[in-house]
Subunit: 203 residues, 2 copies
Amino acid sequence: MRRQFVRGAETRLRIIHSAADLFHKQGARATSPDEIIEASRTGKGQFYHYFKSKEGLIHEVLQTHLDEIKRGASRVSYEINSWKDLEMWFDAQVESQKSYEMTRGCPFGTLGNEVTDNDELIRQDLSLIFEVVKNKLAAFFVREKAKGNLTKQADAEVLADFCIASMQGAMLMGKIKRSSQTVETTVQEALTHLRSYFVKARR
Amino acid sequence: MRRQFVRGAETRLRIIHSAADLFHKQGARATSPDEIIEASRTGKGQFYHYFKSKEGLIHEVLQTHLDEIKRGASRVSYEINSWKDLEMWFDAQVESQKSYEMTRGCPFGTLGNEVTDNDELIRQDLSLIFEVVKNKLAAFFVREKAKGNLTKQADAEVLADFCIASMQGAMLMGKIKRSSQTVETTVQEALTHLRSYFVKARR
DNA sequence: ATCTCTCTGTACCTGGTGGTACAACCGCAA
DNA sequence: TTGCGGTTGTACCACCAGGTACAGAGAGAT
Protein backbone atom coordinates (compact mmCIF):
# COMPACT_ATOMS: atom_id res chain seq x y z
CA MET A 1 0.00 0.00 0.00
CA ARG A 2 3.04 2.30 0.11
CA ARG A 3 3.97 2.24 -3.56
CA GLN A 4 0.52 3.36 -4.58
CA PHE A 5 0.70 6.14 -2.08
CA VAL A 6 3.93 7.41 -3.59
CA ARG A 7 2.60 7.20 -7.11
CA GLY A 8 -0.50 9.08 -6.08
CA ALA A 9 1.49 11.86 -4.48
CA GLU A 10 3.55 12.18 -7.65
CA THR A 11 0.45 12.48 -9.79
CA ARG A 12 -0.94 15.07 -7.44
CA LEU A 13 2.25 17.11 -7.64
CA ARG A 14 2.34 16.84 -11.42
CA ILE A 15 -1.12 18.32 -11.55
CA ILE A 16 -0.20 21.13 -9.17
CA HIS A 17 2.92 22.04 -11.10
CA SER A 18 1.23 21.94 -14.48
CA ALA A 19 -1.58 24.06 -13.12
CA ALA A 20 0.84 26.55 -11.56
CA ASP A 21 2.59 26.98 -14.87
CA LEU A 22 -0.63 27.44 -16.84
CA PHE A 23 -2.02 29.87 -14.26
CA HIS A 24 1.17 31.88 -14.49
CA LYS A 25 1.02 31.87 -18.27
CA GLN A 26 -2.63 32.72 -18.82
CA GLY A 27 -4.35 33.09 -15.47
CA ALA A 28 -6.70 30.71 -13.73
CA ARG A 29 -9.89 31.84 -15.41
CA ALA A 30 -8.51 31.10 -18.87
CA THR A 31 -7.26 27.66 -17.87
CA SER A 32 -9.66 24.73 -18.07
CA PRO A 33 -9.35 21.49 -16.11
CA ASP A 34 -8.95 19.68 -19.44
CA GLU A 35 -5.93 21.79 -20.26
CA ILE A 36 -4.31 21.00 -16.92
CA ILE A 37 -5.15 17.33 -17.32
CA GLU A 38 -3.49 17.20 -20.70
CA ALA A 39 -0.40 19.14 -19.60
CA SER A 40 0.08 16.89 -16.58
CA ARG A 41 -0.64 13.75 -18.60
CA THR A 42 -3.28 12.53 -16.20
CA GLY A 43 -7.02 11.99 -16.48
CA LYS A 44 -10.25 13.45 -15.25
CA GLY A 45 -10.39 10.70 -12.69
CA GLN A 46 -7.20 11.78 -11.02
CA PHE A 47 -8.03 15.44 -11.20
CA TYR A 48 -11.23 15.16 -9.23
CA HIS A 49 -9.81 12.47 -7.02
CA TYR A 50 -7.09 14.78 -5.70
CA PHE A 51 -8.90 18.11 -5.88
CA LYS A 52 -12.49 18.75 -5.04
CA SER A 53 -12.85 21.49 -7.66
CA LYS A 54 -10.88 23.86 -9.81
CA GLU A 55 -11.02 26.46 -7.08
CA GLY A 56 -9.69 23.90 -4.65
CA LEU A 57 -6.77 23.33 -6.98
CA ILE A 58 -6.01 27.04 -7.22
CA HIS A 59 -5.99 27.15 -3.45
CA GLU A 60 -3.56 24.26 -3.25
CA VAL A 61 -1.32 25.77 -5.91
CA LEU A 62 -1.08 28.90 -3.78
CA GLN A 63 -0.46 26.89 -0.64
CA THR A 64 2.40 25.19 -2.45
CA HIS A 65 3.85 28.55 -3.49
CA LEU A 66 3.53 29.85 0.04
CA ASP A 67 5.23 26.80 1.40
CA GLU A 68 8.10 27.20 -1.04
CA ILE A 69 8.53 30.83 -0.06
CA LYS A 70 8.59 29.97 3.61
CA ARG A 71 11.07 27.16 3.05
CA GLY A 72 13.24 29.32 0.80
CA ALA A 73 12.75 26.82 -2.02
CA SER A 74 11.28 29.20 -4.59
CA ARG A 75 12.85 30.51 -7.71
CA VAL A 76 13.20 33.96 -6.20
CA SER A 77 14.96 34.10 -2.86
CA TYR A 78 13.04 35.99 -0.21
CA GLU A 79 15.76 35.77 2.39
CA ILE A 80 17.07 39.30 2.52
CA ASN A 81 20.09 39.83 4.73
CA SER A 82 21.96 42.53 2.93
CA TRP A 83 21.52 45.38 0.54
CA LYS A 84 22.94 43.09 -2.12
CA ASP A 85 20.25 40.51 -1.39
CA LEU A 86 17.61 43.16 -1.83
CA GLU A 87 19.01 44.11 -5.21
CA MET A 88 19.03 40.45 -6.13
CA TRP A 89 15.42 40.08 -5.04
CA PHE A 90 14.40 42.75 -7.54
CA ASP A 91 16.73 41.44 -10.18
CA ALA A 92 15.65 37.81 -9.90
CA GLN A 93 12.09 38.78 -10.69
CA VAL A 94 13.11 40.79 -13.72
CA GLU A 95 15.23 37.89 -14.93
CA SER A 96 12.39 35.45 -14.40
CA GLN A 97 10.11 37.62 -16.47
CA LYS A 98 12.73 37.95 -19.18
CA SER A 99 13.11 34.19 -19.34
CA TYR A 100 9.48 34.09 -20.51
CA GLU A 101 10.22 36.78 -23.06
CA MET A 102 8.12 39.29 -21.15
CA THR A 103 4.90 37.44 -21.88
CA ARG A 104 4.14 36.78 -18.23
CA GLY A 105 3.79 38.89 -15.14
CA CYS A 106 4.17 37.89 -11.53
CA PRO A 107 2.34 34.60 -10.83
CA PHE A 108 0.67 36.13 -7.78
CA GLY A 109 -0.14 39.43 -9.40
CA THR A 110 -1.69 37.60 -12.33
CA LEU A 111 -4.01 35.64 -10.07
CA GLY A 112 -4.61 38.63 -7.84
CA ASN A 113 -5.87 40.75 -10.64
CA GLU A 114 -8.59 38.33 -11.64
CA VAL A 115 -10.12 37.80 -8.21
CA THR A 116 -13.68 38.97 -7.79
CA ASP A 117 -16.18 39.01 -4.95
CA ASN A 118 -16.73 35.28 -5.38
CA ASP A 119 -13.09 34.33 -4.88
CA GLU A 120 -12.72 35.29 -1.26
CA LEU A 121 -10.64 32.20 -0.41
CA ILE A 122 -8.17 32.86 -3.21
CA ARG A 123 -7.95 36.53 -2.33
CA GLN A 124 -7.03 35.61 1.23
CA ASP A 125 -4.43 33.11 0.06
CA LEU A 126 -2.78 35.79 -2.02
CA SER A 127 -3.04 38.30 0.76
CA LEU A 128 -1.26 35.89 3.04
CA ILE A 129 1.52 35.26 0.53
CA PHE A 130 2.16 38.98 0.16
CA GLU A 131 2.03 39.35 3.92
CA VAL A 132 4.76 36.76 4.35
CA VAL A 133 6.94 38.38 1.70
CA LYS A 134 6.38 41.78 3.24
CA ASN A 135 7.43 40.49 6.63
CA LYS A 136 10.63 39.06 5.20
CA LEU A 137 11.48 42.37 3.60
CA ALA A 138 10.43 44.38 6.64
CA ALA A 139 12.57 42.21 8.90
CA PHE A 140 15.59 43.24 6.89
CA PHE A 141 14.78 46.92 7.19
CA VAL A 142 14.15 46.55 10.92
CA ARG A 143 17.55 44.92 11.40
CA GLU A 144 19.28 47.60 9.37
CA LYS A 145 17.56 50.27 11.37
CA ALA A 146 18.63 48.62 14.61
CA LYS A 147 22.18 48.73 13.32
CA GLY A 148 21.77 52.43 12.72
CA ASN A 149 22.05 52.08 8.97
CA LEU A 150 18.66 53.62 8.25
CA THR A 151 17.45 57.12 8.98
CA LYS A 152 14.71 57.36 11.52
CA GLN A 153 12.17 58.47 8.88
CA ALA A 154 12.40 54.98 7.43
CA ASP A 155 9.37 52.85 8.32
CA ALA A 156 10.24 49.19 7.74
CA GLU A 157 6.73 48.06 6.86
CA VAL A 158 6.07 50.95 4.56
CA LEU A 159 9.32 50.35 2.73
CA ALA A 160 8.56 46.64 2.40
CA ASP A 161 5.16 47.43 0.89
CA PHE A 162 6.81 49.93 -1.39
CA CYS A 163 9.22 47.26 -2.65
CA ILE A 164 6.39 44.84 -3.41
CA ALA A 165 4.11 47.38 -5.02
CA SER A 166 6.74 48.88 -7.28
CA MET A 167 7.87 45.41 -8.32
CA GLN A 168 4.30 44.38 -9.08
CA GLY A 169 3.62 47.50 -11.07
CA ALA A 170 6.87 47.19 -12.96
CA MET A 171 6.20 43.58 -13.92
CA LEU A 172 2.67 44.37 -15.03
CA MET A 173 3.91 47.16 -17.25
CA GLY A 174 6.62 44.89 -18.59
CA LYS A 175 4.05 42.32 -19.57
CA ILE A 176 1.77 44.83 -21.24
CA LYS A 177 4.58 46.48 -23.15
CA ARG A 178 6.33 43.18 -23.74
CA SER A 179 9.56 44.96 -22.91
CA SER A 180 11.92 44.82 -19.98
CA GLN A 181 13.10 48.39 -20.35
CA THR A 182 10.49 50.04 -18.16
CA VAL A 183 10.80 47.27 -15.61
CA GLU A 184 14.49 47.87 -15.27
CA THR A 185 14.34 51.63 -15.00
CA THR A 186 11.48 51.44 -12.51
CA VAL A 187 13.39 48.99 -10.35
CA GLN A 188 16.35 51.35 -10.46
CA GLU A 189 14.20 54.24 -9.33
CA ALA A 190 12.79 52.17 -6.50
CA LEU A 191 16.29 51.20 -5.41
CA THR A 192 17.45 54.79 -5.60
CA HIS A 193 14.61 55.76 -3.34
CA LEU A 194 15.39 53.02 -0.83
CA ARG A 195 19.04 54.01 -0.87
CA SER A 196 18.07 57.50 0.19
CA TYR A 197 17.09 56.10 3.59
CA PHE A 198 20.50 54.60 4.17
CA VAL A 199 22.73 56.56 6.44
CA LYS A 200 25.96 55.29 4.97
CA ALA A 201 26.38 55.70 1.28
CA ARG A 202 25.93 52.33 -0.41
CA ARG A 203 27.33 51.37 -3.79
CA MET B 1 -33.18 58.86 -40.94
CA ARG B 2 -31.42 61.00 -38.35
CA ARG B 3 -33.48 60.00 -35.31
CA GLN B 4 -32.73 56.31 -35.83
CA PHE B 5 -29.09 57.13 -36.14
CA VAL B 6 -29.10 58.91 -32.81
CA ARG B 7 -30.94 56.12 -31.09
CA GLY B 8 -28.50 53.59 -32.45
CA ALA B 9 -25.53 55.60 -31.25
CA GLU B 10 -27.07 55.79 -27.82
CA THR B 11 -27.57 52.04 -27.66
CA ARG B 12 -24.03 51.52 -28.79
CA LEU B 13 -22.73 53.79 -26.07
CA ARG B 14 -24.89 52.14 -23.44
CA ILE B 15 -23.33 48.81 -24.36
CA ILE B 16 -19.81 50.26 -24.24
CA HIS B 17 -20.34 51.87 -20.86
CA SER B 18 -21.94 48.80 -19.33
CA ALA B 19 -19.14 46.67 -20.69
CA ALA B 20 -16.47 49.06 -19.39
CA ASP B 21 -17.97 48.90 -15.93
CA LEU B 22 -18.21 45.10 -15.90
CA PHE B 23 -14.68 44.73 -17.27
CA HIS B 24 -13.43 47.02 -14.55
CA LYS B 25 -15.33 45.07 -11.93
CA GLN B 26 -14.45 41.53 -12.93
CA GLY B 27 -12.26 41.59 -16.00
CA ALA B 28 -13.19 40.84 -19.60
CA ARG B 29 -12.71 37.10 -19.45
CA ALA B 30 -15.21 36.73 -16.64
CA THR B 31 -17.81 38.87 -18.38
CA SER B 32 -20.18 37.22 -20.85
CA PRO B 33 -22.03 38.99 -23.64
CA ASP B 34 -25.28 38.05 -21.91
CA GLU B 35 -24.21 39.89 -18.80
CA ILE B 36 -23.39 43.02 -20.78
CA ILE B 37 -26.65 42.76 -22.67
CA GLU B 38 -28.63 42.59 -19.47
CA ALA B 39 -26.73 45.44 -17.81
CA SER B 40 -27.20 47.68 -20.81
CA ARG B 41 -30.84 46.64 -21.23
CA THR B 42 -30.41 45.76 -24.86
CA GLY B 43 -30.61 42.49 -26.80
CA LYS B 44 -28.39 40.06 -28.57
CA GLY B 45 -29.45 41.61 -31.84
CA GLN B 46 -28.00 45.00 -30.93
CA PHE B 47 -24.88 43.55 -29.43
CA TYR B 48 -23.78 41.78 -32.57
CA HIS B 49 -25.12 44.52 -34.76
CA TYR B 50 -22.77 47.09 -33.24
CA PHE B 51 -19.82 44.87 -32.41
CA LYS B 52 -18.46 42.06 -34.48
CA SER B 53 -17.39 40.02 -31.46
CA LYS B 54 -16.65 40.26 -27.78
CA GLU B 55 -13.03 41.04 -28.57
CA GLY B 56 -14.15 43.80 -30.90
CA LEU B 57 -16.12 45.29 -28.04
CA ILE B 58 -13.14 45.18 -25.71
CA HIS B 59 -11.16 47.00 -28.35
CA GLU B 60 -13.81 49.68 -28.68
CA VAL B 61 -14.09 50.05 -24.93
CA LEU B 62 -10.37 50.76 -24.82
CA GLN B 63 -10.59 53.16 -27.73
CA THR B 64 -13.26 55.03 -25.84
CA HIS B 65 -11.08 55.20 -22.74
CA LEU B 66 -8.16 56.42 -24.80
CA ASP B 67 -10.28 59.06 -26.40
CA GLU B 68 -11.48 60.27 -23.01
CA ILE B 69 -7.94 60.50 -21.74
CA LYS B 70 -6.85 62.48 -24.77
CA ARG B 71 -9.81 64.82 -24.49
CA GLY B 72 -9.32 65.20 -20.75
CA ALA B 73 -12.82 63.85 -20.17
CA SER B 74 -11.91 60.94 -17.93
CA ARG B 75 -12.55 60.57 -14.24
CA VAL B 76 -8.86 61.01 -13.49
CA SER B 77 -7.27 64.11 -14.93
CA TYR B 78 -4.11 63.43 -16.89
CA GLU B 79 -3.32 67.07 -17.51
CA ILE B 80 -0.39 67.67 -15.22
CA ASN B 81 0.83 71.24 -15.02
CA SER B 82 2.02 71.51 -11.49
CA TRP B 83 3.34 69.51 -8.64
CA LYS B 84 -0.12 69.82 -7.12
CA ASP B 85 -1.67 68.28 -10.25
CA LEU B 86 0.69 65.36 -9.96
CA GLU B 87 -0.34 64.78 -6.37
CA MET B 88 -3.93 64.95 -7.47
CA TRP B 89 -3.29 62.46 -10.23
CA PHE B 90 -2.14 59.92 -7.66
CA ASP B 91 -4.83 60.85 -5.23
CA ALA B 92 -7.69 60.68 -7.71
CA GLN B 93 -6.85 57.07 -8.46
CA VAL B 94 -6.75 56.14 -4.80
CA GLU B 95 -10.09 57.86 -4.27
CA SER B 96 -11.60 56.09 -7.26
CA GLN B 97 -10.49 52.76 -5.86
CA LYS B 98 -11.88 53.63 -2.45
CA SER B 99 -15.21 54.52 -3.98
CA TYR B 100 -15.48 50.86 -5.01
CA GLU B 101 -14.55 49.80 -1.50
CA MET B 102 -11.20 48.49 -2.68
CA THR B 103 -12.79 45.68 -4.68
CA ARG B 104 -11.43 46.91 -8.00
CA GLY B 105 -8.03 47.77 -9.36
CA CYS B 106 -7.13 50.00 -12.27
CA PRO B 107 -9.39 49.32 -15.28
CA PHE B 108 -6.38 49.11 -17.56
CA GLY B 109 -4.26 47.07 -15.20
CA THR B 110 -7.11 44.62 -14.74
CA LEU B 111 -7.42 44.07 -18.48
CA GLY B 112 -3.66 44.10 -18.95
CA ASN B 113 -3.11 41.31 -16.53
CA GLU B 114 -5.41 38.90 -18.32
CA VAL B 115 -3.86 39.43 -21.72
CA THR B 116 -2.36 36.30 -23.32
CA ASP B 117 -0.61 35.52 -26.58
CA ASN B 118 -3.96 35.47 -28.38
CA ASP B 119 -4.93 38.99 -27.39
CA GLU B 120 -2.33 40.91 -29.33
CA LEU B 121 -4.77 43.62 -30.39
CA ILE B 122 -5.90 44.28 -26.84
CA ARG B 123 -2.33 44.29 -25.58
CA GLN B 124 -1.44 46.94 -28.12
CA ASP B 125 -4.46 49.03 -27.21
CA LEU B 126 -3.40 48.99 -23.59
CA SER B 127 0.19 49.68 -24.49
CA LEU B 128 -0.95 52.74 -26.41
CA ILE B 129 -3.05 54.01 -23.53
CA PHE B 130 -0.13 53.76 -21.14
CA GLU B 131 2.10 55.42 -23.71
CA VAL B 132 -0.22 58.39 -23.92
CA VAL B 133 -0.42 58.70 -20.14
CA LYS B 134 3.33 58.40 -19.88
CA ASN B 135 3.80 61.18 -22.40
CA LYS B 136 1.48 63.47 -20.48
CA LEU B 137 3.43 62.86 -17.30
CA ALA B 138 6.79 63.08 -19.03
CA ALA B 139 5.83 66.39 -20.63
CA PHE B 140 5.34 67.85 -17.18
CA PHE B 141 8.75 66.67 -16.02
CA VAL B 142 10.37 68.02 -19.20
CA ARG B 143 8.83 71.42 -18.63
CA GLU B 144 9.90 71.48 -15.00
CA LYS B 145 13.39 70.52 -16.00
CA ALA B 146 13.49 73.29 -18.59
CA LYS B 147 12.51 75.71 -15.84
CA GLY B 148 15.43 74.44 -13.80
CA ASN B 149 13.21 72.92 -11.15
CA LEU B 150 14.57 69.41 -11.57
CA THR B 151 18.05 68.11 -11.00
CA LYS B 152 19.85 66.95 -14.09
CA GLN B 153 19.79 63.33 -12.92
CA ALA B 154 16.04 63.40 -13.47
CA ASP B 155 15.01 61.57 -16.65
CA ALA B 156 11.50 62.67 -17.57
CA GLU B 157 10.49 59.42 -19.26
CA VAL B 158 11.89 57.24 -16.52
CA LEU B 159 10.08 59.24 -13.88
CA ALA B 160 6.83 59.06 -15.84
CA ASP B 161 7.14 55.27 -16.05
CA PHE B 162 7.94 55.16 -12.38
CA CYS B 163 4.75 57.07 -11.56
CA ILE B 164 2.63 54.69 -13.61
CA ALA B 165 4.26 51.51 -12.37
CA SER B 166 4.11 52.41 -8.70
CA MET B 167 0.48 53.47 -9.06
CA GLN B 168 -0.36 50.21 -10.82
CA GLY B 169 1.39 48.12 -8.21
CA ALA B 170 -0.19 50.06 -5.38
CA MET B 171 -3.69 49.62 -6.78
CA LEU B 172 -3.17 45.93 -7.37
CA MET B 173 -2.02 45.44 -3.79
CA GLY B 174 -4.94 47.50 -2.58
CA LYS B 175 -7.36 45.27 -4.42
CA ILE B 176 -5.76 42.07 -3.14
CA LYS B 177 -5.64 43.28 0.45
CA ARG B 178 -8.97 45.07 0.15
CA SER B 179 -7.37 47.91 2.02
CA SER B 180 -6.31 51.39 1.04
CA GLN B 181 -3.56 51.60 3.62
CA THR B 182 -0.75 50.15 1.53
CA VAL B 183 -1.90 52.14 -1.47
CA GLU B 184 -1.64 55.37 0.42
CA THR B 185 1.75 54.73 1.98
CA THR B 186 3.15 53.52 -1.34
CA VAL B 187 1.92 56.62 -3.12
CA GLN B 188 3.53 58.72 -0.40
CA GLU B 189 6.84 56.93 -0.89
CA ALA B 190 6.64 57.45 -4.64
CA LEU B 191 5.94 61.15 -4.14
CA THR B 192 8.80 61.44 -1.68
CA HIS B 193 11.09 59.95 -4.26
CA LEU B 194 9.89 62.30 -6.98
CA ARG B 195 10.30 65.24 -4.64
CA SER B 196 13.95 64.33 -4.21
CA TYR B 197 14.54 65.37 -7.81
CA PHE B 198 13.14 68.82 -7.26
CA VAL B 199 15.72 71.51 -6.81
CA LYS B 200 13.53 73.82 -4.79
CA ALA B 201 11.94 72.38 -1.71
CA ARG B 202 8.25 71.77 -2.36
CA ARG B 203 5.49 71.56 0.21
C1' DA C 1 -8.07 -16.51 -3.77
C1' DT C 2 -10.46 -12.90 -2.01
C1' DC C 3 -11.33 -8.51 0.05
C1' DT C 4 -10.11 -3.82 0.34
C1' DC C 5 -8.13 0.33 -0.57
C1' DT C 6 -6.28 3.71 -3.15
C1' DC C 7 -5.38 4.94 -7.84
C1' DT C 8 -6.71 5.48 -12.82
C1' DG C 9 -9.50 5.69 -17.28
C1' DT C 10 -13.70 6.66 -19.80
C1' DA C 11 -18.35 7.83 -20.66
C1' DC C 12 -21.57 10.98 -19.80
C1' DC C 13 -24.27 15.15 -18.25
C1' DT C 14 -25.78 20.02 -17.38
C1' DG C 15 -25.37 24.67 -18.03
C1' DG C 16 -23.31 28.54 -19.96
C1' DT C 17 -20.58 30.99 -23.77
C1' DG C 18 -20.11 33.09 -27.93
C1' DG C 19 -22.43 33.53 -31.95
C1' DT C 20 -25.94 33.13 -36.06
C1' DA C 21 -30.43 33.42 -38.43
C1' DC C 22 -34.15 35.61 -39.25
C1' DA C 23 -38.16 38.18 -38.73
C1' DA C 24 -40.04 42.28 -37.52
C1' DC C 25 -39.94 47.27 -36.80
C1' DC C 26 -39.61 52.28 -37.40
C1' DG C 27 -38.91 56.68 -39.82
C1' DC C 28 -38.70 58.53 -44.00
C1' DA C 29 -38.21 59.16 -49.25
C1' DA C 30 -40.12 58.68 -53.81
C1' DT D 1 -47.60 52.59 -50.70
C1' DT D 2 -44.05 50.60 -51.46
C1' DG D 3 -39.38 50.52 -50.72
C1' DC D 4 -35.21 51.09 -48.00
C1' DG D 5 -32.01 52.04 -44.45
C1' DG D 6 -30.78 51.35 -39.86
C1' DT D 7 -32.53 49.25 -35.71
C1' DT D 8 -34.39 45.71 -32.43
C1' DG D 9 -36.24 41.10 -30.52
C1' DT D 10 -36.28 36.08 -30.25
C1' DA D 11 -35.19 31.50 -31.34
C1' DC D 12 -31.75 28.58 -32.07
C1' DC D 13 -27.08 26.23 -32.17
C1' DA D 14 -22.44 24.19 -31.66
C1' DC D 15 -19.12 23.92 -28.44
C1' DC D 16 -16.76 23.67 -24.24
C1' DA D 17 -16.45 24.22 -19.22
C1' DG D 18 -16.75 22.09 -14.96
C1' DG D 19 -18.12 18.11 -12.83
C1' DT D 20 -20.24 13.20 -11.84
C1' DA D 21 -20.60 8.19 -12.22
C1' DC D 22 -18.76 4.24 -12.50
C1' DA D 23 -16.05 0.57 -13.81
C1' DG D 24 -11.64 -1.33 -13.62
C1' DA D 25 -6.52 -2.11 -12.04
C1' DG D 26 -2.77 -2.88 -8.76
C1' DA D 27 -0.90 -3.65 -4.54
C1' DG D 28 -1.14 -5.32 -0.01
C1' DA D 29 -3.56 -7.76 4.11
C1' DT D 30 -6.09 -12.19 5.41
